[in-house]
């Protein structure tokens, strides 16, 4: 009796899509609302990741502009653990190296204090240190002046001071137009300029810079540098770095410390990731809530569409076809939410980056991960409702009342 063979039930892939999108097309508002959770979760994650990339790109661009070829030579410690000193000719010796392009020395005048007037107690230093500096300092550091001019070969002999960005702010001086004066150890100095923050030498932001010749005359400065900033030619960076110690202090090269301040900036790039992780966690929570919302909507859909399931079984659908229909419906729902979330995240992060003057960076991997995790959530959320739908027997599904 069972002579003829029977072709299997088949649902073409294109039909899977149209069958699965039917529930969404006929219940648009509900579909949109249930996708909102996923959209918010994905949007926040995409925005956080894109912004972290943008701020990194900004720091890296800043690094590029400042250059990674600045080296700082400072005295280290002697063999006995005492503070060492750089020999007086160190800056001159360093300038002799072929690969060295610029050299500028500074020496801190530890005893001196800076005040706006004599009514302010001497002890109230505001954390501002007096530092003797070469006129080449700003050029060597790649720094700029917020106002006025830096020390030059004439003003280094005179009671003239240039303030670091923080020092100026603490003294309440915003411009040099009114020819402000400050009191340094009982003598009035004219403020010639105010520096912008120095990314590669932040220690100078709180300094009041005066010329070496005047510093030697006024204070008991012995002329030994507390820091020498060396701009090397970028190609010779690695070769020149080990030469600096012996060149600065031929007798005790081990007492010289050489560092690259751009490394500290690069470390800040890495430190940003800590915040990113926190916000990503919050995004993940939103995503989870969105997934629960979708699962909820799918469970309701299966309850409501029992007779549709029965009809499909009568039309020849297998349990697998029913399962695929509801899982795909959930995937479409979550995928649409994910897509909307990615778009929203990109727009938000681009706007925020623009407001900060950062480059807008949206890595492809973030977009892919965003849509991918939305689909993953959709699959998980749809699985249980789809199994329930598939488990219904045709007669159970068709039973009214």
């Amino acid at each position: 009796m069972r002579a003829m063979s029977l072709p299997r039930s088949r649902l073409l892939p294109r039909d899977v899509l149209s069958v699965s999108s039917m529930g969404l097309r006929t219940r648009r508002l509900r579909a949109a609302l249930s996708a909102v959770g996923i959209a918010i979760g994905i949007a926040s994650m995409v925005a956080v990741l894109a912004l972290s990339e943008s701020s990194k790109a900004d720091l890296i661009a800043a690094l590029d502009k400042l250059g990674t070829n600045l080296l700082t030579v400072t005295p280290g410690q002697s063999f006995l653990g005492e503070d060492a000193k750089l020999p007086k000719p160190a800056p001159r010796m360093l300038r002799r190296l072929a690969a060295v392009e610029d050299v500028a020395a500074t020496a801190s005048v530890s005893s001196a204090t800076v005040r706006r007037s004599g009514y302010i107690p001497k002890e109230d230093t505001n954390g501002i240190g007096v530092v003797a500096a070469d006129p080449a300092l700003v050029r060597t550091l790649g720094g700029t002046l917020a106002d006025g001019a830096f020390l030059n070969s004439a003003t280094i002999h005179e009671p003239v001071v240039v303030l670091g960005a923080d020092a100026a702010a603490r003294l309440g001086i915003v411009s040099v137009a009114s020819r402000p004066l400050v009191l340094i150890d009982g003598r009035w100095f004219a403020v010639a300029g105010i520096l912008s923050p120095l990314a590669l030498a932040p220690e100078l932001d709180s300094a009041a810079l005066i010329g070496f010749p005047l510093a030697k005359k006024m204070f008991a400065v012995d002329g030994s540098a507390s820091a020498v900033y060396v701009r090397a030619s970028p190609d010779a960076m690695n070769a020149v770095r080990p030469l600096l110690g012996p060149q600065a202090n031929p007798e005790h090269p081990e007492e010289v410390q050489v560092s690259r301040p751009s490394d500290a900036l690069a470390a800040r790039v890495a430190a940003k990731s800590a915040f990113t992780a926190l916000f990503l966690g919050l995004g993940a929570v939103a995503l989870l809530v969105g997934g629960v919302g979708i699962a909820n909507v799918m469970v309701i859909a299966v309850l409501e569409r029992r007779s549709e399931i029965g009809l499909r079984r009568a039309l020849g659908a297998t349990r697998g076809h029913v399962r695929v229909q509801f899982v795909t419906e959930s995937l479409l729902l979550a995928g649409a939410g994910g897509l909307a979330g990615v778009l929203l995240g990109v727009v938000v992060s681009a706007a925020f980056a623009a407001s900060r003057g950062w480059p807008a960076v949206v890595p492809t991997s973030v977009v892919v991960a965003g849509i991918g995790s939305a689909l993953g959530i959709g699959a998980v959320a749809g699985l249980y409702p789809a199994m329930r739908a598939a488990r219904l027997s045709p007669t159970e599904a068709l039973r009214t009342v």
Partner: protein, 219 residues
């Protein structure tokens, strides 16, 4: 085409819905299964249509012994050889009459264009050619049942089962549906109509009477 031998169906309770039913329907027949409410007609239709399995007995449909087929094979049998018409029509809302009819071969793996072509032909046959593009929810009861009949007939199944097809219709629409079923049968379709309405049963060439899960006559 259809053969039942000593089929019983017991529901948990226990309720003996079918107490040993034997009947056979040959190709090209139009048969009414008639009986009062609760007599086991729907149970019988579900078993004949392979939507459910009997507790005991043999069911053969379109040459296949149902007991020998697995779940997926029964689905395939329904997809290719069996058509259903229900009292509640079960049309999908938000879909045109044409697409609802085209669903009749959705699980047979036919491409959508082919299904639509066949669907428009079949809609012409049931007299709804001009209503094809209308949304299913905008049709009258009689029109909806015509759409459902066209859907059942789409794949030219070996047998069509109709459970109270006129149960939700007024008497005029009922008469039209009965006339349509007779016409389709004259064109070669094998149809089993289940009804509690003797007037409708009497309009069919053959009647099988059922009461309390047992065949009273015509089996």
């Amino acid at each position: 085409m259809l053969e039942l031998e000593d089929v019983t169906k017991e529901y948990p309770g226990p309720v003996l819905a079918l107490g040993g039913v034997s009947l056979s329907v040959r190709e090209g027949e139009l048969v009414a299964v008639v009986g009062p409410s609760g007599s086991g007609k729907s149970t019988l239709l579900q078993i004949m249509g392979t939507l459910d399995r009997p507790t005991a007995g043999v069911v053969r449909v379109a040459g296949f012994d149902v007991a020998e087929l697995g779940d997926a094979e029964l689905a395939a049998l329904r997809a290719h050889r069996i058509g259903f018409v229900f009292q509640q029509f079960f049309l999908l809302e938000g879909m045109s009459a044409l697409d609802n009819v085209a669903n009749g071969l959705l699980y047979a793996g036919l491409p959508a264009e082919e299904r639509r072509r066949l669907a428009s032909e079949t809609l012409e046959r049931v007299g709804l050619g001009r209503r094809m593009r209308h949304d299913a929810s905008k049709l009258s009861g009689g029109e909806r049942q015509r759409v459902a009949i066209a859907r059942a007939l789409l794949g030219r199944p070996a047998i069509v089962f109709a459970d109270e097809p006129t149960g939700n219709l007024d008497s005029r629409s009922s008469a039209e549906i009965v006339a349509l079923l007779r016409e389709l049968n004259r064109d070669g379709s094998t149809i089993v109509v289940i009804t509690h309405d003797h007037e409708i049963a009497d309009a069919m060439p053959r009647q099988i009477a059922i009461r309390d899960g047992l065949i009273e006559g015509g089996g």
